[in-house]
C-alpha cells in the first residue's frame, strides 16, 4: 500500500493537492467521472461530500470546511456569496438539468402519457426545496395537467427519493432528473421521455469558490477545469444540457 502511494505520488506533479468539494447528490455520478479526468490532467484530487443542497448550505454557513460548492440550484451559491462566505466573482452555471418522465416498468412514457393514462401516483421532488420539483410543477402547469393530477402527486424530499418511489412500484411514473437514469443518451435504468426544456424554467446548477478555497490553487484550477470543453462534454454525457 505504501509503495503504491509513493509510486502514485511520484507520477504526479510536485504541487498535487486536494480540493474539498461539497456537491448536490444529483451530480455525484458525473462528478466522480470529472474527478478522475481532472486528476489525470492536473494531479489534483477531489474529496467529495454529497448531500441535499439546502443541507450543504446550512453546513457551509456554519463553518463546514469545504472549498468548492456545486449546488443543485442557482440560489444557494448566490446566497453564500451575498453573505460573504463565497467569492461572488467565481459564480457560474456548471450544468443545466433536464427533466424526464420516468417509469421503472416496461411501459415507455411519451408526451401523451400524463394526459391519457389513468395513473395511480406521480412522484416528484418537493417543489419547495428541489429545483427539479419546481420544474416538474411548471411543466404540469404549462400543460394544464396540474389540477387534474394534484391528488395523485407524491413528493420525495429530493429527486433520488422520487426515483425510489417509482423504482419500488409505489408510483407508476415520476418526473425526475435525467442525470439519475441516463448515460450517453440511453436509459440505464427503466424507461422515460425527456420533457422538452421549453416547458419549464432552466434548472441551473451553480458552482462557487468558497472562502476556505481561496488559498488553494487546486480549487481554482478545478473551477476553471469545470468550464472547459472536456469537462462540459463529460457533464453532457450524464443527461445535462
Amino acid at each position: 500500500m505504501l509503495i503504491l502511494s509513493v509510486a502514485l505520488c511520484l507520477g504526479m506533479p510536485a504541487t498535487a493537492a486536494t480540493v474539498k468539494v461539497a456537491a448536490a447528490s444529483n451530480f455525484v455520478a458525473p462528478l466522480n467521472a470529472l474527478a478522475a479526468d481532472f486528476a489525470k490532467r492536473s494531479g489534483h484530487q477531489l474529496q467529495i461530500s454529497s448531500g441535499a443542497t439546502g443541507k450543504l448550505f446550512a453546513q457551509i454557513s456554519h463553518g463546514a470546511p469545504f472549498e468548492v460548492f456545486l449546488a443543485a440550484d442557482d440560489e444557494a451559491p448566490g446566497k453564500l456569496a451575498a453573505e460573504g462566505l463565497a467569492r461572488k466573482d467565481t459564480l457560474f452555471t456548471y450544468a443545466t438539468g433536464r427533466l424526464v418522465l420516468w417509469s421503472s416498468t416496461g411501459n415507455t412514457p411519451n408526451e401523451n402519457t400524463l394526459k391519457t393514462s389513468d395513473l395511480n401516483k406521480l412522484a416528484l421532488a418537493n417543489p419547495k426545496v428541489a429545483p427539479y420539483g419546481r420544474a416538474a410543477v411548471e411543466y404540469l402547469q404549462a400543460q394544464g395537467l396540474y389540477n387534474g393530477l394534484k391528488s395523485k402527486l407524491v413528493y420525495g424530499e429530493n429527486i433520488a427519493q422520487a426515483l425510489q418511489f417509482v423504482a419500488t412500484g409505489n408510483a407508476e411514473y415520476g418526473l425526475i432528473a435525467a442525470s439519475l437514469v441516463m448515460l450517453d443518451g440511453q436509459f440505464t435504468l427503466g424507461q422515460g421521455w425527456l420533457v422538452p426544456a421549453q416547458y419549464h424554467q432552466p434548472i441551473r446548477q451553480d458552482a462557487v469558490l468558497l472562502n476556505l478555497g481561496q488559498g488553494n490553487a487546486a480549487a481554482t484550477a478545478f473551477l476553471h477545469y469545470l468550464k472547459s470543453a472536456p469537462a462540459q462534454q463529460i457533464i453532457r454525457r450524464y443527461g445535462y444540457q
Binding site: N120, N126, K128, V129, V154, Y155, Q164, F165, G169, N170
Partner: protein, 224 residues
C-alpha cells in the same frame, strides 16, 4: 410565527400519535404480558423482533415498508385484495409504520411492569377464586399502572418525533402525510430558518413538557 401549513402538520402529527398510541396499547399489552410470563425460546425470538426497531435505522424500516406495502410486495397485494388499496402515501400507512417503529417503546415498559408484579399477587387472587381474566383486569393492570403510563407517553412522544420512516413512505403530502418533523426538514432545506426555528422550538418545548410530566406523574411502583 407558525403558518397554516405548520398548524396542519401539528394537527396531523397529534392525530397520528394518538391513533398509534391507542392501537399500540391494545396490541402491546397482551404481547408484553405473554413476554413477561414466558421465558422460553420463542419468547426470546419474539422479544428480539419487538426490539428490532430500536437498533435499525429508520430508513431501513421505511425502505422495507415501501417495498412490502407497494404493488410488488406481499402486504401490498394483501391490502389491495382487502379493498384497502396500497398504504404508502396514506395516513393509515403512517399509522402502520409508526406502530412498528414505536412498538418497543410500548412493549418494554409494560413488560417490565408485568415482570415486577411477579407471581405472588396472581396466586393470591387465584386462592380467592378470581378468574384469570378478573385477575388481569382487577389486579395486574392497576399494579402495572406506571408501566402503562410510561408506555403510552413514550409511544406518543416517539411517534411525534418520528422522521426517517415518514420521510421514506409518507410522500410528504400536505394535510395527509406531512408531519411536523418533515415540515421542519422542509423549512431547513428551503433555508427558511425562522420558520424552522419556530416549529422546532415548539417541538422541543413539547417534548420537554411530556418527559417532565412523565417523571412527575410516575411515582415508583409500590411493593405489596
Amino acid at each position: 410565527m407558525l403558518n397554516a401549513d405548520d398548524l396542519a402538520a401539528i394537527y396531523l402529527t397529534i392525530k397520528l400519535a394518538a391513533t398509534t398510541t391507542v392501537i399500540l396499547l391494545l396490541l402491546a399489552t397482551p404481547l408484553a404480558w405473554w413476554l413477561a410470563r414466558n421465558q422460553g425460546w420463542w419468547a426470546k425470538v419474539i422479544g428480539a423482533v419487538v426490539t428490532l426497531p430500536l437498533v435499525l435505522p429508520p430508513t431501513v424500516i421505511g425502505f422495507y415498508l415501501l417495498i412490502t406495502l407497494g404493488p410488488n410486495g406481499g402486504l401490498g397485494q394483501f391490502t389491495q385484495a382487502l379493498g384497502l388499496g396500497f398504504l404508502p402515501f396514506t395516513f393509515w400507512g403512517l399509522v402502520l409504520a409508526s406502530i412498528i417503529y414505536s412498538l418497543p417503546f410500548a412493549v418494554q415498559p409494560l413488560q417490565q411492569a408485568f415482570a415486577v408484579i411477579g407471581a405472588r399477587p396472581l396466586e393470591v387472587a387465584a386462592t380467592l377464586r378470581a378468574s384469570p381474566r378478573d385477575t388481569f383486569f382487577s389486579v395486574v393492570l392497576p399494579l402495572a399502572r406506571p408501566g402503562i403510563i410510561t408506555a403510552a407517553v413514550m409511544s406518543f412522544a416517539h411517534t411525534v418525533g418520528e422522521f426517517g420512516v415518514v420521510l421514506m413512505i409518507g410522500g410528504n403530502i400536505p394535510h395527509e402525510t406531512r408531519v411536523v418533523s418533515v415540515q421542519i426538514y422542509d423549512h431547513v432545506e428551503a433555508l427558511q430558518y425562522t420558520q424552522a426555528h419556530a416549529l422546532a422550538l415548539t417541538m422541543l418545548v413539547f417534548s420537554f413538557i411530556v418527559l417532565l410530566a412523565l417523571h412527575v406523574l410516575n411515582k415508583p411502583v409500590r411493593t405489596i
